[in-house]
Symmetry: C2
Subunit: 245 residues, 2 copies
DNA sequence: TTTGTTATTGTGCGTAAAACAATATGAGAC
DNA sequence: GTCTCATATTGTTTTACGCACAATAACAAA
């Protein structure tokens, strides 16, 4: 309740992105190394991609540009999910050092808008071309991050699970155009961190009208070939009215 | 992409609260009259309660204090649900006028964090004691509001429906300690804007272990008296683990 | 033809959603 | 006390889904 008395208070506003990529067997998050500070070897120095918003820039647009910059995906799932505004969220000594030395910011307080994005990691995109200080890290093996970024990541994972139940189409952004039911099942298992019965799973997904079987099968596999399926957006949108209510 | 070049950009940050009250037969939202400007009779002049955050103040705390100020409820459901940061959201002429004349703000850009709160309207609380410029308005009859507040309200209503499915306890904050199943059903019907079959509804709610029947009935009603029920928080919290997964 | 490996499929049970109408109960009128 | 009015309360059937279970089909290589 520390009133300033007048209305001339201006906090910083930033966006931070939890960029989640699926590699085909695990869910990974994009982390940046704060490698601009060289004399802090004992500090982990990892953070989520993020920056202050520009003058006259919508936070949504800032998040979109971060996504483009680091991953290059233009039309991925991208959702603002929470604001982190604790006045002390940037006040740890290491974080203050970095803000001052690397970004040339004074003791500034920063209110950040957190975004969540999901996409498929293709071999080409694993290393962002523009900057080598970025790396993918499995969400289960994330070390201590700067600021409250561990908390932001944790909230993002909770959020994404909620959203998948309300909008299953999110899942299919993590798969190639053609996929087998095994791939689909593995993805659900990774997302919810639990195993799923094969038979029940087949029955369930085959009820969905937007999952269409192709006349195509795996080739050159040393066992029975699995059928390929694809996700049909048109059927999904028609079907939406029923499942959402 | 209007970069400032340096990192010294400071937008305003505010919180706005969608305070939803249930009067027993309809859902209402608390609106404030921008009555400080007297020479704009043709302008509706209604807005959601909100203000800039103070120096060193967490947005959550600011929202909590707004809630206390206007409704006086201390432990109500209060949830941050979305950020509105379009640079042009405060640029309509009427809104600019109001900002300058009433709040003494220059052309400032404002990023706002929107909160959602739900509670019961008791006769005592319908008119906030401190300020008579506040009024309840049925959510279906809300006129044009200042800024993007109509959009904020719309998003809040979508959000609350999602949240009730995930956490039914929210519903019981809108009812008195003792209530009949008719009152409970009417509330669900108002919330989802659809009628519900009486028999199926009774069967469904009676499965909930946290809905306990009392040995008490309505009195002085010209028909069969309905039984009273209450919501049991302890049973609900025990039960939570099952329904959430 | 056999073998190894994975893909695919069916049955039973318990629970819940949805669509239906008849009976019970309280207060007041006669 | 009986009747009437208005609302409260309750049950059955059908259909769908979640969940727990194991046997069969298909492909490639030996």
């Amino acid at each position: 309740m520390n009133k300033t008395g007048n209305n001339s208070f201006y906090p910083h506003v930033s966006v931070d992105c939890v960029l989640l990529g699926y590699s085909g067997d695990s869910l990974q998050v994009l982390l940046l190394e704060k490698n601009l500070v060289e004399n802090h070897a004992s500090f982990s120095g990892l953070k989520l991609p993020g920056r202050l918003i520009y003058d006259n820039e919508d936070p949504d647009r800032a998040a979109q540009s971060l996504l483009s910059e680091w991953v290059g995906v233009r039309y991925a799932y991208l959702k603002q999910f929470k604001v982190f505004g604790d006045p002390d969220r940037t006040s740890r000594p290491q974080d203050l050092n970095w803000l001052q030395e690397a970004v040339d910011l004074k003791i500034g307080r920063i209110v950040t808008v957190a975004y969540l994005s999901l996409f498929r990691i293709t071999s080409r995109k694993i290393q962002p071309a523009a900057n080598l200080s970025a790396r993918w890290c499995p969400v289960n093996e994330v070390p201590n991050l700067a600021f409250d970024h561990n908390q932001i990541l944790k909230d993002a994972l909770i959020e994404i699970r909620k959203n998948i139940r309300l909008d299953p189409s999110i899942i299919y952004r993590l798969l190639p155009a053609k996929f087998t039911l095994l791939e689909l099942r593995r993805l659900y298992e990774v997302m919810y961190d639990q195993t799923i019965d094969v038979r029940n799973f087949h029955k369930k997904v085959k009820r969905s009208p937007y999952l269409v079987a192709l006349d195509e099968k795996e080739e050159n596999v040393p066992h029975r070939a699995a059928r390929y399926y694809r996700f049909d957006k048109v059927s999904y949108n028609r079907h939406l009215g029923l499942t959402t209510l």
